[in-house]
Amino acid sequence: MSRSSAGAETDPAAAATELANAAVAGDRRALARLLTAVENRTPLAEAALRLLYPKAGRAHLVGVTGPPGSGKSTLVAALIARVREAGRSVAVIAVDPSSPITGGALLGDRVRMQAYAGDRDVFIRSMASRGHAGGLASTSGAAAAVLDAAGFDLIFIETVGTGQSEVEVAAAADTTVVLEAPEMGDEVQAIKAGLLEVADLVVVNKGDRPGAGRTASQLRAMLVAVPRVGASGASDRPRPKRPDVLITTAATGEGVAELLAALDAHRSAGREGRTPAARLARAEAQVWAILADRLRESLHDADRRALSQETLDAVADHRLDPYAAADRLLESIAKGPG
């Protein structure tokens, strides 16, 4: 196998082209290495993403989120089996948390997904969150774009175990599935703002446990559309989604075919709209994230580092308010280098 690492040192653009072309042509080793570059945010990764982005946009990106132990990995594994029966290819990005103390991580989602070793149309990649707090790694979206460009039909993005407010996956995916386990909370939990609001589908997993049916009916009762009496001109106000509630038992496969059918139905419904809202939200999230990175980098430019430091010192000493500080730095960036 050719080793392009020597080229990477001299010319990232050429190495990026080589690696991106190989990944798109089906070279799984090249794909894996490209994902590493994306995770490490190297210049090669940026060059490759510029090439690959126009090729992405065909896959169905499905976010899977929910509390730790609710069965996300087991459910994804069960979905992989169904997707493969249908002859479609599938990739998984499985995110687990990095230690805020050591930077280390234990990535354990593959344990449930090891049955597909001989199948080249299944590609599973674990990612550590590396200090990012929204339930994903900061590079998960870019990794999904690479897998999309590499031609996978369906891409599951499995978040770290989430609580109530890690809603970032909704911007990264076309369809967001929120898992609940039976007896995890009462009706008040179901009407709190946050995770359940961004769900396109709510799944009560571990359906063989007592209380699954009751949990599902409580969720259904609480998540129904609230009638908008006399709401004139409010139709453009952002509204939380009104998800269907399904019951699965991922460990046995019960209800998984129905879930896949519901995912497909959500995907087709989204296609009928002109610009599906999820794709627009994703574009916004991606561009904002890059913009924020670029801003941060330009504040560390050699010619602006002194000004940045002086401004931060002034805020730290309460000589300057943080709003004026931000304005001053933005002005400096707008003036351009030098």
Binding site: S5, R28, A45, A105, L106, L107, R110, Q114, I124, S126
Partner: protein, 136 residues
């Protein structure tokens, strides 16, 4: 960018009945700042090689207690090489007789860690021998 975490696959090939030791090691390496992919019990050589390829790990650590190491470990090394993963550091631990170690090293196992090895020793070895992480 050599300060990126080293990514390690910890796998248990073969039919061992428990994986407490492998889990303790996985957790210990996590605490040492490694990104550890853990794949669980009863892995075939093909599963280990596929996971190493897809995860693009720097190190494959194989834990084996069953006595099947002379069959399984060389096969894993061969599969890794066939997939172009010849720059991945492969180590083994568990119950492996000293007499078998030269043949395993010949087959591609870089180091064998026996009972009593501390996690700090393993971590130091991996930091010293894993491939450079600024390849791409």
């Amino acid at each position: 960018m050599t300060d990126r975490p080293i990514k390690v696959l910890i796998a248990k090939p073969g039919l061992d009945g428990h994986d407490r030791g492998a889990k303790v090691l996985a957790r210990g390496l996590r605490d040492e700042g490694f990104e550890v992919v853990y794949t669980g019990l009863r892995q075939t050589p093909e599963m280990v090689a596929t996971a190493a390829l897809q995860e693009d790990v720097d190190v494959v650590g194989l834990s084996i207690l069953s006595g099947a190491h002379m069959t399984l470990l060389p096969k894993i090394c061969r599969l890794l090489r066939e997939q172009g993963l010849d720059d991945v550091l492969v180590t083994a631990g568990g119950i492996i007789p000293d007499d078998d170690i030269p043949a395993l090293k010949e087959a591609g196992i870089a180091e064998v860690f026996g009972p009593g090895t501390t996690i700090a020793e393993v971590a130091d070895y991996l930091r010293g021998h894993a491939r450079a992480r600024d390849r791409v």
